[in-house]
């Protein structure tokens, strides 16, 4: 069998592109190297929907950012993904930085960003009283927001799969050949996929994938960003996303609420040599503490419930690499997608689908496409009546597994049974939040392992944290 399109990489770009392609009568497969979707930058980033004032006018970043920011609320409604239009502030701490703020304002206007304004200190403090007294003023972007990046990826994949896209996991592409207009993708395990078109959405690995067809144009630098997640008890310290003035390395350390009610501080920006190295470092964590206190003096890492790091695939030319490869026009690049990549994703996906459909020509629309992904039952958000009704229908909704976040057994089973569902403990965590609370899985971790083993029909020592090699248990005790 030969697919029309293979998307390599189930990050937010790959997943949203898959969903766009599901709108057409195409045989599409989403190919992922690891055990789950959203395993790279899409699970470890700031979760910000940027207004679009930061990117250089005329760049792909500027174009897709502004469009993506505009599309995001509707996409999230359709996919039942948590999104909040909380607005963002770029805060200046000196007259000099106020100049930067004005530049950003002008750039935003050029880029077509709506609802921008410059605030003086009094206006700023009125909006965000917990900001430092050292602030001078800020740029307010009212169209900016926050979104849960991995839920967006998971929901897009689910919706794509529900509409006919195939999802293949643990297929690490390490060879691509091209013959008679057809690509053959070969996995590290020797499996093959035949496909007429390839979309390279492999994130940090998109340079390697590109090289497999001899295209050297994707040049990436891995730029690590470390973060702290703070307890919900301090989740409302600020209501908007607070940036400091940007530097060459990026947008600096932010302080932001998350859609789940925690507070996020970070990221650092450090160029690293190794891909997939999402270690945190003591220096990095120290940097976050130093810089976040500058914005919000009362922010304290003592409230941290966890820290994490993610890798940005920073393109050397500083802009997204999107479009057909010069080596082979049937190979479409969607590479170098760093910030504002999450914001841009819906717009990038739409654009890539358009390129493909035009290239293939006369592709009929998928008349059965249903872009709505209904929200799963979430016990913690339900009213008493809804809870009672849900438990009456399925008693598993009456058994709390994760105490900190009130996640029920029913929700965990749903996450496993969903299209492209969870296969490991971290997959359950991202889909349900089980283990994301203040005890970080201390109580529920072992129960999630049991439920996974039961639902997947395997032994509990086959269950992994995040796929191959990350086993949790060894053999039986004596």
């Amino acid at each position: 069998m030969c697919y029309d399109v293979s998307i390599i990489g189930a990050g937010v770009i790959g997943a949203m592109t898959a969903r766009e392609l599901a709108k057409y009568e195409l045989k599409t497969v989403l190919v992922e190297a690891t055990n789950d979707v959203a395993m790279g930058a899409s699970k470890a980033n700031s979760g910000i929907v940027h207004g679009g004032f930061d990117a250089k006018p005329g760049s792909l970043k500027a174009r897709f950012n502004v469009k993506g920011c505009e599309m995001m609320p509707q996409v999230c409604r359709d996919l039942s993904v948590p999104y909040k239009n909380n607005g963002s502030l770029v805060v200046a701490f000196s007259e000099e930085e106020m100049e930067t703020v004005k530049e950003l304002y002008d750039r935003g206007i050029t880029n077509g960003v709506p609802a921008l304004s410059i605030l003086d200190k009094a206006q700023l403090k009125a909006l965000e009283p917990n900001l430092s007294d050292d602030v001078f003023g800020a740029l307010l972007s009212e169209s900016a927001g926050i979104v849960c990046p991995y839920e967006l990826t998971i929901a897009s994949t689910e919706n794509a799969v529900s509409n006919g896209v195939e999802f293949v996991r643990n297929f690490k592409v390490d060879g691509i050949s091209f013959d008679n207009g057809v690509f053959t993708l070969t996995s590290a395990d020797g499996d093959t996929i035949k496909t007429k078109y390839v979309i390279n959405a492999a994130g940090a690995h998109s340079d390697e994938i590109s090289r497999l067809i001899g295209d050297e144009s994707v040049e990436l630098i891995m730029r690590r960003g470390e973060y702290f997640i703070l307890d919900k008890a301090v989740g409302n310290l600020v209501s908007r996303t607070i940036f400091q003035c940007p530097t060459k390395m990026g947008k600096g350390i932010l302080v932001s609420p998350t859609v789940d009610g925690n507070l996020l501080i970070g990221p650092t920006a450090e160029d690293v040599d190794v891909k997939d190295d999402t270690s945190t470092t003591s220096e990095g964590l120290k940097t976050i503490k130093t810089f976040s206190v500058k914005s919000c003096p009362t922010v304290s890492a003592r409230n941290a419930i966890t820290s994490f790091s993610g890798l940005r695939a920073h393109p050397v030319n500083n802009d997204f690499i999107i479009g057909p490869s010069k080596i082979n026009p049937q190979f479409i690049q969607a590479a170098g997608i760093e910030s504002p990549g999450l914001t841009s994703a819906p717009a990038v996906a739409e654009y890539i689908a358009e390129i493909l459909v035009n290239a293939i020509g006369n592709v009929p629309e998928n008349k059965n496409f249903n872009g709505i992904r209904k929200d799963v039952f979430r016990f913690r958000h339900a009213t008493d009546e809804e809870k009672s009704a849900a438990i009456a229908e399925n008693p598993a909704y009456g058994r709390i597994i994760c105490r900190c976040e009130s996640i029920t057994e029913g929700e965990i089973i749903d996450a496993i049974k969903a299209p492209a569902g969870a296969r490991d403990v971290d997959g359950v965590k991202r889909r349900t939040r089980a283990g994301m609370g203040r005890c970080q899985g201390g109580f529920c971790g072992s129960k999630v392992v049991e439920i996974l083993a039961r639902e997947l029909g395997c032994s509990i020592n086959d269950i992994t944290k995040f796929g191959k090699g990350s086993n949790i248990l060894f053999e039986r005790t004596k």
Binding site: D276, S279, K387, R399, I472
Partner: protein, 417 residues
């Protein structure tokens, strides 16, 4: 809406003893709500012995200790609901709970005993740098895998923190054939019981390295090793002492946190040191009719003391239910030199009985005295060969001293070196 005189939240050793005591004191309708599938709480996975020496005068395993109370409960009309999670308690003492069979439950209570226990501090709170490989878990989670599920969570183990569960697991893993390379303790002293250090580490030749911590974890999929380092007197790692240790498992035993989310939701006052409710000598919180006992109140060293404390709370709840609210005149005992906290935090001087104040010290003392001073007068001064943060201590305020007190009286407990 269901109606019960007493709702006990938690069916571990504290909840069971409180319920039984309340029944014995004449409370008519009592319900115990337990979130796990069985009663007994964490005792169920503590298959080692050492429980009950003080209370029963015999050495029992955790499940044996729990079974004594479970059996007693069976002989009463106390209602027990397991696999039932309490979601909320409101100001009018309406308890909302959920389980598979009954769905959402609303229970109207005359009094409530909080006995939710504690949880282990996770990695996130520790700021250990490094990867997110599998093989990093709390000692209690590892204990469950080994003792209840029957699977080995690792083969080469480093343990961070010398709390009792960590010490117990060092021995347990060794007995199961794993190699426990080292137990690191950030502080210059262990937070565990002396008997556990001797029986679980020394007897097996497992090194305990004090003033040492784990600074980094290595390995992308499964843990491959950790970097440990000694710390200076500000507890900051000393760069030159960094050392790599190969291991596939890092167990954390770095402290227990009373699980007071429900307590806080009701608006009950919390002691900043114990992280438990502020209570009086009957373990009544600042919300009348709501009592707390066991590890949700303050982390205990021995379950025997949990039982004793829970009986006080059970009696207090019974008196409240049967006799109503009585006028109380409170004196707040003060922590003097070396004493980190005192439980109870308030003492009703109208109380006719002696009151035992429990506390822990902040460092190790040798040949020191524990002094109780009331209104400037030394009431007792007990010699102690050793005082350690890992062990709970107590002093008794005699009934006649209490009877002679006024609202302006002072009570101070301190350590004299």
């Amino acid at each position: 809406m269901l109606n019960y005189d007493l709702v006990v939240v938690g069916g571990g050793p504290a909840g069971m003893a409180a319920a039984l005591k309340a029944k014995e004191c004449g409370v008519d309708s009592i319900i115990v709500l337990e979130r796990a599938e069985t009663l007994g709480g964490i005792l169920e996975q503590c298959i080692h012995t050492g429980f009950g020496l003080h209370y029963f005068g015999e050495e029992l395993s955790g499940p044996e200790y729990a079974a004594k109370f479970i059996d007693q409960l069976k002989g009463t009309d106390i209602v027990v609901k397991t696999d039932t999670m309490v979601l909320d308690i409101d100001d009018d003492k309406v308890v909302t709970a959920v389980n598979k069979k009954d769905g959402l439950l609303k229970i109207n209570a005359k009094a409530i005993v909080l006995a939710m226990g504690c949880r282990e501090r996770p990695r996130g709170a520790l700021e250990i740098a490094g990867s997110r490989a599998s093989g990093i878990m709390t000692a209690g989670t590892a204990q469950k895998y080994v003792n209840l599920d029957g699977y080995m969570p690792g083969k080469k183990v480093v343990i961070l923190g010398s709390g009792d569960i960590g010490l117990i697991m060092a021995r347990r893993m060794t007995l199961e054939g794993a190699q426990v390379k080292v137990v690191c303790e950030l502080m210059p002293y262990s937070g565990g019981l002396t008997r556990n250090i001797v029986q679980c580490l020394d007897d097996f030749g497992i090194p305990l390295r004090l003033s040492t911590t784990v600074v980094e974890t290595h390995g992308t999929d499964r843990l491959e090793g950790v970097t440990i380092a000694q710390v200076d007197d500000k507890l900051q790692p000393i760069e030159s002492t960094k050392e790599y240790i190969e291991c596939d498992t890092l167990m954390l035993s770095v402290g227990l946190i009373p699980e007071n989310e429900l307590t806080k939701n009701v608006g009950i006052g919390i002691d900043r040191i114990t992280n438990g409710a502020v209570v009086d000598e009957m373990r009544q919180t600042d919300h009348k009719g709501i009592f707390a006992c066991g590890n949700v109140l303050h982390v205990h060293d021995l379950v025997d003391y949990v039982t004793l404390e829970a009986q006080i709370a059970g009696q207090g709840a019974a008196e409240f239910i049967l006799g109503g609210d009585k006028d109380a005149v409170y004196v707040t005992p003060e922590t003097g030199n070396g004493v980190r906290y005192l439980v109870p935090q308030r003492v009703n001087i109208n109380n006719k009985n002696e009151v035992k104040l429990y506390f822990r010290v902040g460092q190790i003392y040798k040949n020191a005295k524990v002094v109780l001073e009331c209104d400037g007068k030394v009431i007792s001064s007990k010699k102690k060969v050793k005082l350690a943060p890992g062990e709970m201590e107590n002093v008794v305020i005699p009934a006649d001293i209490l009877a002679g007190m006024t609202p302006d009286s002072s009570i101070v407990v301190r350590v004299e070196e």
